[in-house]
């Protein structure tokens, strides 16, 4: 097999790099809870590349979706037609998610801390917020019940913060204790395992702390440090994220997001 055709950094967008990096992390996973926007494209890309037997679960009440187009909303009719099963939301959240059948749940975030705790509710004070965000939706129960959680978000000093303004979805809580609390309270989920941003890819160390493992092409450690409010733990062997292959880009652009809504 010939090596994939190299692609220059200038030839793909930061969003495309995020999508491709997230899709690759899904290798070996079987059942994935899909979110709106970038996760939606990433999961569909994984299904076409590294995880062809991936079962797509949508919170709207679909198991085993086969979307024929990229939906604007996660409740689009295309996720129903030719799906394995349509369920009520009671069944989806009760039997599939809380029952422990979801391997990976994707979450976005307005704010995240070093332990992977997430805010998607308000910026500022809860009663009189400066910005009212959407709120939990299914995020809080995904964070608790999905076997692992992937976070996909853009990185800035406003989003990678010392203290989140509101904890919508628990991550590794205060660090090493997180795993113990999860166990003692009977949670099935192990918490966040990957954070994919426009700058790099993070995993979590044994103490539940986010660790920078990979920088996207063209990104420096200084770039990353300038866009977060704490000094990140960095892997002993910090690597460069492999750029998207020509085939990955073709699938994203020509098959999944033909109008470039999410990828430009």
């Amino acid at each position: 097999m010939s090596p994939p055709e190299p692609v220059e950094a200038a030839d793909f967008s930061a969003s495309e790099m995020m999508i491709v990096a997230a899709a690759r992390e899904l290798a070996g996973r079987h059942v994935c809870f899909v979110g709106v926007g970038l996760p939606n494209i990433a999961v569909n890309l994984a299904k076409l590349t590294v995880a062809t037997d991936l079962e797509l679960v949508y919170e709207a009440g679909v198991f085993g979706a086969r979307p024929a187009r990229l939906p604007l909303s996660i409740g689009d009719p295309t996720i129903v037609t030719r799906a394995t099963a349509v369920t009520s939301m009671f069944e989806l959240f009760g039997f599939y998610l809380q029952g422990g059948l979801i391997d990976v749940g994707f979450l976005g975030a307005a704010q995240i801390d070093r332990f992977g705790n997430i805010n998607s509710t308000v910026i500022g004070d809860y009663a009189h917020p400066t910005t009212r965000l959407p709120g939990s939706g299914g995020a809080c129960e995904i964070a608790i019940n999905a076997r692992e959680v992937f976070v996909i978000m853009r990185q800035s000093r406003r989003s990678f913060v010392q203290r989140i303004d509101f904890r919508t979805s628990p991550g590794n809580l205060g660090g090493a204790d997180g795993a113990r609390i999860r166990r003692e309270q009977g949670w099935l989920g192990a918490g966040p395992s990957v954070v994919i941003t426009d700058l790099g890819v993070y995993h979590f160390d044994a103490g539940g702390v986010m660790r920078l493992d990979s920088l996207h092409p063209g990104v420096t450690l200084e770039d990353v440090q300038g866009k977060m409010a704490w000094q990140p733990a960095v892997a002993d062997r910090l690597i460069e994220t492999a750029p998207p292959t020509a085939e990955e880009l073709r699938l994203v652009r020509d098959v999944l997001d033909t109008e470039g809504i999410y990828t430009r």
Partner: protein
Amino acid sequence: MAEAIAGSVHDGDTVAIEGFTHLISFAAGHEIIRQHKRDLTLARLTPDLIYDQMVGAGVARKLIFSWLGNPGVGGLHAVRRVTEGASASLELEEYSHFGMVGRYTAGAMNLPFFPLRSYFETDLPVANPLIRPIRSPYGDDLVYAVPPLEPDVAIIHAQRADEQGNTQIWGLLGCQKEAAFAAQRVIVVVEELVSEDVIRADPNRTVIPGLIVEAVVVEPFGAHPSYAQGHYDRDNRFYIEWDAISRDADLLEQWLDEWVYGVAGRAEYRDKLGDERLDALRPGSSPSGSVDYGDYR
């Protein structure tokens, strides 16, 4: 529709127009606006554009919800205007999706609460003290409880029903069944009125029995810009356009004047949208297989 809303929805009521992306009764929401209802508590998992419009029109006192946004587009700006900053005036009571589903379920089942494994180690029980921890009576397990939600009125859009209100839905089911059984009164709005024989030929598809339905309203395209599986697609163009409209209070007022106050009802709204726009939303065909229920005598 006018008669059903006038008869069933009263100022101060708790109203649930349910439907997760699918089958949202915009027709009923607009009629509530036209009738100048006031002080409503509006319950929905995802307030969506319909509650943004209703809040913008001044019918609501409070929202009970779990996800407040325009899916794939951004925020609900009419809601944000009255929930952000020092002058926040709209009361919010928020849960997670499963918490809302659990509330309707407890309401439907006449239970004092619904237990779930959400909310641990989050700020949601602080923001909403109605979310409370309880110990299992069978051990030390801790779970959270949410209280029953029994709306005064649930309004459910569906593909079809018979005159008695026996209602069939296919595609995303959301929590319409739970909301309907929890409510004191149920209004069903359908694309198509069918005979009892059609319902009885496929009883597995019946989601809501006529037993609990107070009124059946026939309103083709009554869910637009939401959708009805197999009938018409979601009008994503409108969801995208709404962002600019709702950001500007004056534009929103103009929009309400033109599309809600300025039309007598859904039929006029449909005519105003025009056949070209509506025809473009019609999907291709993908019929279900059929099953044989068997004839037993």
